[in-house]
């Protein structure tokens, strides 16, 4: 019984529960939903594979976003960064006489990441040096970024036919989607880097109390530069995957509103927007919930006009269940048994 309460109290309980519920809904709708087969080309094939492949960009961005949020910041410019990276990579590949050359694609990818690094440092400069509130600082690039991408593509949708570039978003390595591998590597590297060293703790300390950490000798400025630069580069990685997956750079649509999905993934994973303690595992669960939700809409066949409402309902349910007020109200109700007045007060607490 104690174990049950412990599980219920864990911050990942409700997101995980929602993930299980969503998967269950899919299995009821389509009994073979969980099956994974190997197709004729030796690639893993199945709905679960689609989820981990299509969810990869959101997860990659959410990992960077987790660290930014841990410093009590936010990065709204990631969606635009996706568009910029895709636009630059595609225009380089299109301008090259050898679009199918691995070297060309490598150069295009590296230059896109370098541009993202510069833009990320710009975000870091606005936040760390000029002291502009993160939401405003990154809003600048969020709005201007798509314009930059449009300038690069001259307002066109650039379609590229380049096998090595297509490999990034739609390719398979040892039967596993490349995008999934990239996401896994990103998650593992960032986890190692921040959890095996003191970096994670320092980031958290900046988020909890910037002034106190400065007086304790933590170089907050450098840390802020690092997290915003990392967030931008990871956004560019995600943007390249998205662009490669649709074999076209689309300045208007690539990564559209993905910043909100990434923030949602972080929050669903139990990291507070007030900064401080963060959980990369939580972010992983959050990203999986979001992608499973999207897949559910298509699999179950929810009518397009009701899609948004359905998504909102799931998100509201998880965030409500996660909120400390609601959970303490529920706990009170459990511990005091079936007395009617308790139910009343719990309901009151929810209402409040």
């Amino acid at each position: 019984m104690n174990l049950v309460y412990k599980a219920l109290g864990h911050r990942l309980f409700w997101p995980l529960a929602m993930l299980v519920v969503l998967l269950a809904v899919n299995v009821i709708a389509v009994p073979g939903f969980l099956s994974i087969t190997v197709n004729s080309e030796g690639h893993l094939f199945g709905s679960l594979i689609d989820i981990v492949r299509n969810g990869a960009p959101t997860l990659i961005i959410a990992v960077g976003m987790t660290l930014v949020i841990a410093t009590r910041g936010i990065d709204l410019s990631v969606g635009s960064m996706c568009a910029i990276a895709g636009a630059l990579a595609c225009s380089i590949i299109l301008a090259s006489p050898t679009p199918n050359d691995v070297g060309t694609v490598t150069v295009a990818v590296l230059l896109s990441l370098a541009l993202a690094l510069v833009l990320g440092v710009w975000n870091g400069f606005l936040v760390a040096v000029l002291g502009i509130q993160p939401i405003i600082a990154t809003l600048i690039l969020m709005t201007a970024g798509r314009g930059i991408a449009m300038l690069i593509t001259e307002g066109q949708i650039l379609t590229v036919n380049s096998a090595p570039f297509k490999f990034i978003g739609s390719g398979f390595l040892a039967g596993i989607p490349v995008a999934t591998i990239v996401a896994a590597v990103v998650l593992a590297l960032v986890a190692l880097l921040t959890r095996r060293t003191a970096l994670g703790m320092l980031i958290e300390s900046v988020g909890i109390n910037p002034e106190a950490s400065r007086q304790a000798g933590v170089r907050a400025r450098g840390l802020l530069f690092t997290v915003y630069a990392l967030s931008a580069v990871l956004a560019a990685v995600a943007g390249l995957i998205l662009t490669s997956n649709q074999t076209a750079a689309d300045s208007n649509n690539t990564g559209w509103l993905i910043e909100l999905d990434a923030i949602l993934a972080v929050v669903l994973g139990g990291t507070s927007l007030n900064g401080g303690r963060y959980s990369l595992t939580g972010t992983l669960v959050g990203a999986l919930v979001i992608q499973t939700l999207i897949t559910t809409v298509y699999t179950v066949g929810i009518p397009p006009i009701a899609t948004m409402v359905f998504k909102a309902a799931v998100v509201v349910a998880v965030t409500l269940l996660q909120s400390s007020r609601v959970s303490s109200a529920l706990a009170r109700r459990r511990s005091r048994g079936r007395r009617a007045e308790t139910v009343g007060s719990a309901a009151e607490a929810v209402a409040r």
Binding site: R146, I157, Q246, T247, D250, N252, V297, Y298
Partner: protein, 332 residues
């Protein structure tokens, strides 16, 4: 500070000068339908484009911009990035700038009455291109120049009906819809449904929006391939979603165009290439090249002539054989 003041003064003079030259034109100001018979090089037309969501739209934008250049009429162009509020604010700014004509492709069908009323009050004629609005007051715009989407859906439906006229069992069709609420999505679905209902074997088993994008089409198709036990045909509301579906079908180890037949609308370059490669079976054309017809309408209105309330663009359909012949001569 002095410098700034000087700049302001210069600006004011410049403004006054333009106001003078504007007043010098002989036309009586505020006459219905703008100022008729203005020299073409003095006309200013505001065009509020939907966005650049597909290759089709890009071709449409290019054609309009080039046609205006050739005709020597000044064009103010804006890109709404698929959002109605952007388009409304673009139209408002055109009204404030006092352009002679406004042309636009509405993102969605409804919600335009207020801003169109403002244009009417300002005596600026509005021309709808490519997409219609759903308004009871047809006096809010002079003409709607564009494709007949219901007819396009019907053409697609007719090909499907003919292709499966001997089918003995159910033909499972999945539909990739355009942006929810947009005129082409609604009308292409209606036209298609109207025709295929004649044959009870033809059944749309699933229908989802892919937002007219390649990524959308791909992701929806991936999920449908797993949730539907049998899919015989994909009807995509545009080529881009069809191209996304092709990728998903190939990833599932099936052959697009054979195992699963594909019918799309638009006939953009990439779609036509896929058609010649046999990956798409039939494309209903929806021509984006309406720049010349738009210039015609503006010239007629400028000369004080009447224009038809509905002008349909010239377009056809392509089978795989026809596509092979037509592809080398396509402009987009």
């Amino acid at each position: 500070m002095k410098k700034t003041l000087g700049l302001f003064a210069a600006g004011a003079v410049a403004l006054a000068m333009t106001a003078c030259s504007g007043g010098a034109t002989p036309a009586e100001p505020g006459a219905a339908g703008g100022a008729p018979n203005k020299p073409l090089d003095q006309l200013v037309v505001g065009f509020a484009q939907v966005g650049a969501e597909s290759g089709w739209r890009t071709a449409n934008t290019k054609d309009i911009q080039e046609s205006f250049k050739t005709a020597g009429i000044q064009l103010k162009f804006s890109d709404a990035q698929q959002k109605q509020e952007n388009q409304i604010s673009a139209i408002r700014s055109y009204i404030q700038q006092g352009v002679d004509y406004i042309a636009f492709s509405p993102v969605v069908q409804t919600g335009w009455d207020a801003v169109l009323q403002e244009a009417k009050t300002a005596n600026i004629p509005v021309i709808l291109t490519d997409r219609a609005v759903d308004s009871k007051d047809t006096s809010l715009y002079v003409t709607f120049l564009g494709s007949d989407f219901v007819a396009e859906g019907k053409k697609a439906g007719e090909w499907v009906t003919n292709e499966y006229k001997d089918a003995k069992e159910q033909v499972s069709i999945v539909q990739l819809e355009g942006t929810t609420g947009s005129a082409p999505a609604i009308d292409r679905a209606t036209g298609f449904a109207d025709v295929i209902k004649a044959n009870p074997n033809l059944k749309v088993v699933a229908s989802q929006t892919g937002d007219f994008t390649r990524a959308g089409g791909k992701q929806v198709m991936e999920a449908m391939l797993k949730s539907q036990p049998k899919i015989d045909l994909v009807y995509a509301h545009n080529d881009d979603m069809g191209l996304g579906a092709i990728e998903a079908i190939e990833a599932a180890g099936k052959v697009p165009g054979k195992d699963i037949k594909i019918v799309t609308v638009d006939a953009v370059h990439d779609g036509m290439v896929a058609l010649t490669e046999g990956k798409i079976n039939f494309i209903v054309e929806c021509s984006p090249l309406l720049g010349a017809q738009l210039i015609d309408v503006i010239k007629k209105l400028n000369a004080g002539e009447k224009v038809e309330a509905r002008i349909v663009t010239n377009e056809g359909t392509f089978t795989q054989e026809q596509a092979k012949e037509a592809l080398p001569n396509r402009k987009y």
